[in-house]
């Protein structure tokens, strides 16, 4: 009997949640920005998934180690190399596809870390208030004025070559202040609501109030910020690789641009210079558009204003 009842409520909850999601999705997908962003991301997702195909066809298409035995220099597009080859005779298209995988990996994992940290810190600061709040927010201020890219450079100088996961970790540790500020102010306003008061009177612990009552209400905002953080993580990794401090074991788009630039091919080989730059720019653009479209879904006020005119 009891189990049936529990099943019922959870089913109701799920359908409620689903209805919410579907409503949001329909608004989201009607938005031109959302449409364009999702379309581009699907394209990049296909690229990342397709990155396994070329090495499987022929080992010379290995993005990092595969070299065409007949070509040892940068040659323009041909039937065997659709986008041409780089200075060592490696296939540019396979590198471009592998780069999509790296970009997703770096972007999403760094953004996820940022958002988890930012949400946790923001909720703690907002909920606890007083000294904890002051301390955490001053810390956020300090980290906020630090140029992340240059700081990672300093770390590269001290610790030597950084691998891709270390880079992801550092980006995650340095990009949370923006998220935590927003989550904090949201928490502050939630704290004043009657349902929190009710939970406290009912004897809920602080942890329970934070996780059970506050977190579900700030999570949509966190997700919104996650899309913006993906863009900044991808850009920072690409810039780092471009400057020559990327992970030498991975082929990222930033790395490809560094090879073009450092080997002095930028004036001779547009087939090599253009694709990685276009990809980095478009993937950041698509996550950015996604974020702005989500903004409108999450903030009905914004949506109505848009409709009214």
């Amino acid at each position: 009997m009891e189990s049936v009842e529990r099943f019922d409520t959870s089913g109701m909850k799920r359908s409620h949640w689903l209805a919410h999601f579907l409503e949001g999705w329909s608004v989201f997908i009607q938005n031109p920005l959302g449409k364009a962003g999702v379309g581009l991301l699907i394209l990049f997702g296909l690229m990342a998934a397709g990155s396994v195909i070329p090495p499987w066809i022929d080992p010379m298409y290995q993005p990092m180690t595969g070299v065409d035995p007949e070509i040892a220099s940068s040659v323009g597009p041909s039937a065997t190399h659709w986008l041409g080859t780089d200075f060592m005779g490696r296939d540019i298209l396979s590198q471009l596809l592998a780069g999509a995988r790296i970009a997703f990996m770096v972007g999403v994992s760094a953004a996820f870390m940022t958002v988890v940290l930012g949400t946790a810190i923001g909720m703690t600061a907002g909920y606890m208030g007083k000294a904890v709040d002051t301390l955490l927010m001053r810390l956020a201020d300090i980290i906020m004025v630090m140029p992340t890219l240059l700081f990672v450079l300093m770390l590269a100088a001290l610790f030597g070559q950084l691998n891709i996961w270390t880079i992801v970790l550092i980006i995650g540790l340095f990009r949370w202040p923006g998220v935590s500020r927003v989550i904090r102010s949201q928490t502050l306003s939630l704290k004043q609501r009657p349902f929190i008061e009710a939970a406290r009177v009912a004897g809920a612990s602080h942890l329970r109030i934070i996780f059970r009552h506050i977190m579900p209400n700030v999570l949509p905002l966190s997700f919104l910020y996650m899309t913006f953080r993906v863009t900044s993580a991808i850009t920072i990794e690409a810039a780092l690789a471009f400057l020559g401090f990327g992970d030498p074991g991975t082929v990222s788009w930033g790395m490809m641009l560094q090879w073009v630039w450092k080997t002095g091919h930028m004036f001779q080989a547009p087939y090599w210079l253009l694709p990685p730059g276009i990809c980095i720019s478009l993937i950041t653009l698509s996550f950015y558009m996604l974020g702005r479209a989500m903004d409108e879904v999450l903030d009905p006020r914004l949506r109505k204003e848009e409709d009214a005119s």
């Binding site: 140029p147 240059l150 300093m154 850009t235 630039w261 004036f267």
Partner: protein
């Protein structure tokens, strides 16, 4: 009076923040894996010189004493000797800092002014084709990958068309020419600065434009705008005098928040264009394991960002009297 209090408070905060950054950097340099002596002492020095330097920096003493010496050296402008150049770091920084400040401030101001002006137009003509194109344009330029944009501009405007020099900040023949006046020299720098400035401008104006646009749309719904219209003011007066002034405030906040981002972009731009600035020097020092130079360059960049932050805050307080109370 209130403004002065406000500035004073902000200055103290900034000094504290700088102090914390400096301490963090000190700890990183001493506690990172490997021998800290190797990071402070030029490997090409004779053993006697090296020993003397170790004694001067107190590298054989406890961390607290080292920290004291480190702070004292900082306030005396003593940053050590660059491993690569073999000359005092402070001289190198003094040469490069003005170049960075020139590029950084002109790009921040230019992109803010243009962003505000265009955002105002986009909001005023909301829903028209002008608005759509301005919004799309700023989204695209805002997310384009900076070093790639820089390479493209060099490729098109410097290499193909030959309108601007490919790299650098000055042409030697102009500066070695004894007849060249101040004006010629300034013009020469300006000529070199067009492409780096264009790169930074294109990346940054979009965010100001988007903020200005949405803030202006909010402002236009305010009652005082209705009042202004009811008074019979012209559209232009309402737009420029009543709406735009208030709408520009969030843009100023946005600039303050993105200063660290701008200095990252500045370092990338300097590197691609070999603009002799402090950001490029930092990248260079890091790739040559020139620790004293890297550390000083980073601290100086931190100071630039912090000072710029204070200036933006003061500007905000000046523009919005509510902040001061």
């Amino acid at each position: 009076m209130e403004l002065r209090n406000f500035v004073f408070r902000r200055l103290i905060q900034v000094v504290v923040i700088f102090f914390i950054i400096q301490t963090a950097l000190f700890l990183l340099f001493r506690l990172a894996p490997g021998d800290p002596v190797e990071r402070m002492v030029d490997p090409t020095m004779t053993p006697e010189d090296a020993d003397r330097l170790v004694a001067v920096l107190g590298l054989d003493k406890p961390l607290w004493t080292q920290y004291g010496i480190y702070l004292k050296n900082f306030f005396q402008g003593e940053f050590g000797t660059s491993f690569y150049y073999g000359q005092p770091v402070v001289d190198i920084i003094r040469d490069k800092l003005p170049n960075t400040i020139l590029l950084f401030t002109s790009s921040v101001i230019l992109s803010a002014l243009v962003g505000i002006a265009l955002g105002k137009i986009a909001a005023w003509r909301k829903g028209t084709r002008t608005d759509t194109w301005l919004t799309i344009g700023s989204l695209v330029t805002h997310t384009v990958f900076l070093p790639w944009l820089a390479l493209l501009l060099i490729w098109i405007f410097a290499y193909r068309l030959g309108w601007f020099p490919i790299t650098g900040m000055i042409s030697e023949d102009v500066w070695l020419d004894p007849d060249a006046g101040l004006w010629t020299k300034a013009l020469d720098i300006g000529h070199h600065m067009v492409l780096p400035l264009a790169t930074l401008f294109l990346i940054h104006f979009g965010s100001s434009l988007l903020v200005m646009r949405s803030s202006m749309l909010d402002t236009l719904k305010e009652d005082y705008i209705l009042t202004a219209r009811a008074k019979g003011l012209t559209d232009k007066e309402v737009r420029n005098r009543h709406a735009a002034r208030n709408a520009a405030l969030p843009v100023v906040t946005g600039i303050g928040l993105s200063l660290a981002f701008s200095i990252n972009g500045g370092a990338l731009t300097e590197t691609v264009f070999t603009w002799p600035g402090i950001g490029r020097e930092l990248v260079f020092a890091v790739s040559h394991s020139d620790y004293p130079l890297a550390q000083a360059a980073f601290l100086l960049i931190a100071i630039v960002v912090l000072v710029a932050n204070v200036i933006v805050d003061v500007l905000y307080a000046y523009l919005d009297p509510r902040i001061r109370y």
